[in-house]
């Protein structure tokens, strides 16, 4: 809590915040380019330097958008709950950015001083903090939807809250398996562990990866899962009544959820800043390697984000009941099986591998892939078809007994 720590944290958090805002702004542009590329049309390519004819491939677009957000009329409708209406975007943005406090970018050694590239580097419960604070994002959405006093907003907020809540459980279960294997809640150590073994978690934890991937996708609220603002159904969802800077805060928060999901996928499953032959397994390195590590990390994150963008323009939106069924009937049971499997393998794996005469990594990978395939086939066979579009015959609960007695 001394002055040096405070100063260091202050500098880091300003850099991080600026970087995230810039990244969100420019990723919107990239997303529009990707959309244009997929739909075979020209994307935004006009905005450049104002008052000149220089276009710069549309790189001025985010700045123009930001200016528009600032100078547009920001209308507060008369029917809203004033305090909550103003508070909700702040909550949303705060929760979305604060999560990045524990995201590590590596460690660098300068002049004998070990600088950790994260706002809060020493937090022992990093993953837990991450799950908890990203859960706060639900509050912003729900508050915004409720305070708007508009039926579209309310349903957007409620649906989005239900979706985010549901997918938080598989997310937690998938991380539990990784924590069991890595023995730490600190993202730095999870990355370091992958870097030292050279074996990324995705190669031997396929079930955890698929669970986490689906849950993170849904938590990010991207298109196949975007219950929050299904434009064709709910106009703008929970930010129907928002405009100007408040709308911008919601948009940025939404984008940051996607960036966070990408960061988490990369850090937990794709080895973080590690790449074979390029970055060693030491915790702290001199600055050229540290820079290389940051670039590798950001490169991987960009690849995942690119996948998110392509997915957005490739799949139609799921229906709300399909989303809920996927979470509760598929992902949560699979998550429970996964945790049991991970616990048993972590405990008995070495013995069994020795008995079979296999090397431990090979045995673990084989066992986990077997579990993955068995569980996937079983889920495909057992779970009722939630892609069934026929209307449900009869009442909601066909075999409901005589009046429920709920004690």
């Amino acid at each position: 809590m001394d002055l040096l720590t405070t100063l260091e944290a202050g500098v880091k958090m300003v850099i991080l915040f600026g970087g995230l805002m810039g990244a969100a702004a420019y990723l919107v542009l990239v997303e529009r380019w990707v959309a244009a590329w997929i739909q075979d049309r020209l994307g935004p390519n006009r905005a450049g330097i104002p008052l000149t004819k220089i276009r710069l491939f549309g790189l001025g677009q985010p700045i123009a958008d930001g200016g528009k957000f600032i100078f547009k009329e920001e209308f507060t409708p008369g029917h809203v709950e004033k305090v909550l209406y103003f508070l909700a975007p702040v909550v949303s943005l705060t929760a979305a950015v604060a999560v990045f406090a524990v995201v590590p970018f590596g460690e660098v050694e300068i002049f004998g001083y070990r600088l950790r590239l994260a706002v809060a580097p020493g937090v022992d419960v990093g993953l837990l903090y991450l799950v908890a604070v990203s859960g706060l994002g639900v509050l912003g959405v729900l508050l915004g939807g409720w305070a708007s006093n508009n039926k579209y907003s309310l349903f957007g907020g409620i649906r989005s809250a239900a979706q985010l809540l549901s997918y938080e459980i598989p997310l937690g279960l998938a991380l539990l398996g990784i924590v069991l294997a890595a023995g730490s809640l600190r993202l730095e150590e999870i990355v370091l562990w992958q870097a030292q073994t050279g074996l990324w978690n995705i190669f031997w934890q396929p079930l955890g990866f698929s669970l986490f991937f689906l849950a993170a996708f849904a938590e990010a609220g991207r298109l196949p899962f975007d219950m929050a603002e299904a434009e064709q159904e709910l106009v703008g969802g929970y930010h129907t009544e928002y405009s100007g800077m408040k709308l911008m805060m919601y948009m940025v928060a939404e984008y940051l959820h996607m960036i966070l999901a990408s960061f988490l996928l990369v850090l937990v499953f794709f080895g973080g800043w590690h790449f074979w032959g390029l970055s060693g397994g030491e915790p702290a390195v001199a600055w050229p390697t540290a820079l290389l590590r940051v670039l590798i990390l950001l490169g991987k994150v960009l690849v995942v984000i690119w996948f998110f963008m392509v997915a957005r323009w490739s799949w139609p939106r799921f229906r709300f009941d399909q989303i809920m069924h996927l979470a509760w009937y598929v992902l949560i049971p699979i998550g429970l099986v996964y945790v049991v499997g991970a616990a048993v393998l972590a405990e008995y794996g070495p013995d069994w591998a020795a008995r079979l005469g296999l090397s431990l990594p090979l045995f673990m990978a084989a066992a986990n892939w077997t579990i993955f395939l068995v569980v996937w086939v079983a889920a495909a066979c057992l779970v009722p078809a939630h892609y069934d579009n026929r209307p449900l015959r009869g009442p909601i609960r066909p075999q409901a007994p005589a009046p429920e007695t709920i004690p």
Partner: protein, 178 residues
């Protein structure tokens, strides 16, 4: 111990301040031309026939209750997962030659932020003492718990209870949305 949370606290203050500034910019810096149509709730151009303070489907409430139960129980599993896994990363994947450096690396990252880097001792060749067992292994060797497998059985019973609750929810139909 809690000093590592100081930057997070600062970060939250910083973000709330920034949010306030954004709201302030929006408040001061733009035109304001109200009219009665703008003041209506936007519901696709229809005149709204009542406000949004209506009753909602009870399933959302049940879902929130179910979520609370499951999420809290999953959170209770985290300490067990950490205790069971800590110190065993080296046992897992012990055949990989790179994990030789793992114990020293992991213990050196435990320190406070901004510490001086101790002079590098390339102690791969010389005999370094085995670090004392930590986590659940430490508890076992200290005689605080009987064996790791007993704890594993306890955790599995816990997960089993979670599964029973899940099946109950399923049978009650509160997971059903069609």
């Amino acid at each position: 111990m809690f000093t590592s949370f100081w930057p997070i606290f600062l970060f939250f203050l910083f973000l709330l301040a920034v949010g306030g500034v954004f709201i302030g910019i929006g408040y001061v810096w733009n035109p304001r031309r109200p009219n009665p149509v703008k003041a209506m709730p936007y519901e696709s151009g229809m005149d709204p026939f009542h406000d949004a303070r209506r009753r909602l489907d009870v399933r959302f409430y049940l879902l929130a209750v179910a979520f609370l139960v499951f999420d809290v129980e999953v959170l209770l599993l985290y300490p067990w997962a950490v205790a069971a896994g800590v110190g065993r990363q080296t046992i897992l994947f012990s055949s990989s030659p790179r994990t030789q450096a793992a114990p020293s690396a992991f213990s050196s990252t435990q320190g406070e932020a901004g510490q001086r880097v101790e002079p590098k001792s390339t102690s791969v060749s010389e005999e370094s003492p085995q670090p004392p067992p930590v986590g659940m292994d430490g508890a076992v060797s200290a005689g605080m718990i009987e064996s790791r497998r007993l704890v594993l059985a306890g955790a599995l019973v816990f997960i089993g209870l979670l599964a029973v609750g899940y099946l109950y929810d399923w049978r009650k139909g509160i997971l059903r949305w069609r």
